[in-house]
């Protein structure tokens, strides 16, 4: 009996995260010896859905891939379609896109700090960050009219302008947030109780990070200099660059520090853009039908690199839209890092990559009538033959 594995299933409905994902952890006492994940509970068929809608409709659909980072999804899609059509958004539109993107990063990182602190049992920090996050939600609502899923982008530009009063409001909001963020940086790097849950937990070396191909703040916390905003600037990131925020330790503490320090960069860039907001039009005309071509567009979502592949076929809808979201490459690191840790640390390690299942789940195993999930080689071969017959 001693050799038998003890499996702890978690999910898909579980109190730790608000999204469904199913995990199975093999444990030896309290120590995790193996981990596996089953995703796909929020697979909605968006990529296929985007093919049946025209470009304008598809933009609203891809925005709803993820409610937390909806703006970057729409930005990546718009940049791709604009490139296919040979249109470039006016400079003012690009600046506003960048401002909204950075405001969204602020909201996402504050949200993450709160949720990750909640996983550690530090609910006080959770409540404080979420209270302060309402400031940036107000700013986003002031600019775009909605708290979540802002729809700031349209193909060829943006639909909302930033006037002097809004710029003023943003400045005041940022001043408040900057002061609070300084405090949070102090808490996550000096609170003794909190550090016991984060320092040295879930250490990912730079080699591991590169081998597993992790992206975004998770990679930067392991010393991998990887940020699309710097490597391949889009929007106005070439004129108004952000500085690379990097930590070497690779543990949870480093992931906290990277995200909180990135907030300061976002504040700085938004201020810089507000003072140098280009004048001009908000949208450029974009043709309804787009000639056959294909393109990729990459942007830096709050969680890491977001990748879009778009293929047009001469009609008003896309032939193929392929999305790769940052959670997918990062998910592998959770499974690898969990091994050897206590089960109690697993929620923190999972939260450490800032997982977003709704972004992630665009792939599913279709269960055909009555057949089992595990196939033998012979069955698989037969299926392949049948499929391509």
């Amino acid at each position: 009996m001693a050799s038998e594995k003890f499996v702890i299933p978690i999910g898909p409905q579980h109190p730790a995260l608000k999204e469904p994902g199913h995990f199975e952890f093999n444990v030896d006492g309290e120590i995790v010896t193996d981990a596996s994940v089953r995703l796909g509970y929020v697979h909605r068929g968006i990529e296929k859905g985007a093919e049946t809608r025209n470009f304008v409709q598809a933009e609203y659909l891809v925005e709803r891939i993820c409610g937390i980072c909806s703006h970057v999804h729409a930005t990546a899609f718009c940049l791709g379609v604009e490139r296919l059509a040979g249109v470039e958004a006016p400079p003012r539109a690009q600046a506003i896109r960048q401002i909204v993107a950075e405001l969204e990063r602020i909201h996402s990182h504050l949200l993450w700090v709160g949720v990750a602190a909640h996983e550690a049992g530090f609910d006080t920090l959770f409540m404080y960050t979420w209270r302060d996050r309402e400031t940036v939600m107000n700013l986003l609502e002031g600019i775009t009219g909605n708290r979540v899923n802002y729809s700031a982008n349209v193909l060829g530009g943006v639909k909302c302008d930033i006037g002097p009063e809004q710029a003023e409001a943003i400045q005041i909001g940022l001043n408040f947030l900057e002061e609070r963020t300084r405090h949070y940086l102090e808490v996550v790097s000096s609170d003794a109780m909190f550090l016991r849950r984060t320092r040295g937990i879930g250490v990912m070396t730079r080699e591991d990070a590169e081998r597993m191909g992790v992206v975004g703040p998770t990679a930067r916390a392991s010393g991998v200099p990887r940020d699309v905003r710097i490597d391949a600037p889009y929007l106005l990131y070439a004129e108004h660059p952000v500085e690379l925020v990097i930590e070497e330790a690779g543990d949870l503490e480093a992931r906290f520090k990277v995200r909180v320090r990135e907030l300061f960069e976002s504040y700085r860039v938004i201020r810089e853009l507000l003072t140098a907001l280009p004048e001009g039009e908000l949208t450029a005309r974009i043709p309804r039908r787009i000639k056959p071509a294909e393109t990729i567009s990459r942007v830096e979502a709050p969680r890491g690199e977001l990748f879009y592949f778009i293929k047009s076929n001469g009609t008003d809808s896309a032939e193929r839209v392929k999305v790769r979201t940052p959670t997918l490459p990062n998910m592998a690191s959770v499974l690898a890092l969990s091994v050897g840790h206590q089960l109690a640390d697993v929620p923190m390690i999972l939260a450490g990559i800032d997982p977003c299942f709704s972004c992630n789940d665009r792939m599913a195993v279709v269960k055909r009538n009555g057949d089992e999930q595990v196939w033998t080689w012979e069955q698989l071969r037969q299926y392949g033959i049948e499929y391509y017959r």
């Binding site: 509970y41 068929g45 859905g49 979420w130």
Partner: protein, 193 residues
């Protein structure tokens, strides 16, 4: 097990049960395919600006402890069985609030191959909260409407009356923020450190 009580005692017991249920509904949240937008707004209702816990509403981890199932998102084929299972695990009487356009009808995802439609395609729904995503105020209003229904009133024609003596509720109604501003934050800084 059924208690045999005479009518007046039974009536009193029912009254007590309704009172307890209305005063502190425990909710469980399940995402059956949502984009996360509604989920973070539900979470936002728990945090200081909206803070529904002060009204006795508590978000709960286990379906066995919950009175109210708050559902977000269209129902995907993968999540359907889980949603039904969670609904069946909840003790009677149970209520369902569908939050967000997707939970109402499938919303932006209507027509996608993996979508069954709204939550009411799978389980009975008591309250619908529209919006993409609904504001936290709307979600709170949905819960209040449900409570009005439990109290026996017809929620469709009964305007929800907040107690004006309660400062927090009045502030929410007036669209003010009960806790905001750097001055306030500074005072509390010592508390967190």
């Amino acid at each position: 097990m059924t208690l045999k009580l005479d009518q007046s005692w039974q009536a009193a017991l029912d009254k007590l049960k309704t009172w307890a249920r209305i005063n502190s509904p425990w909710a469980i949240h399940f995402n059956s395919g949502s984009c996360n937008g509604c989920d973070i707004e539900i979470l936002a209702t728990l945090t200081p600006r909206y803070d529904v816990e002060r009204l006795g509403i508590k978000l709960q981890g286990s379906p066995r402890h919950a009175d109210v199932l708050i559902c977000t998102g269209p129902v995907t084929r993968q999540a359907r069985d889980r949603l039904v299972r969670i609904y069946e695990q909840m003790p009677e009487p149970k209520f369902v609030i569908a939050v967000g356009s997707c939970a109402l009808s499938g919303g932006a995802f209507r027509g996608c191959y993996n979508i069954l439609g709204g939550v009411d395609q799978v389980i009975p729904v008591d309250v619908y909260v529209p919006g993409c995503p609904p504001r936290p105020e709307a979600i709170i209003d949905g819960v209040v409407k449900l409570l009005a229904k439990l109290r026996g009133a017809d929620p469709s024609d009964t305007p929800v009356v907040f107690d004006p003596d309660s400062a927090g509720e009045a502030a929410i109604l007036a669209g003010e923020d009960p806790v905001e501003g750097p001055a306030h934050a500074q005072q509390e800084e010592e508390a967190i450190a």
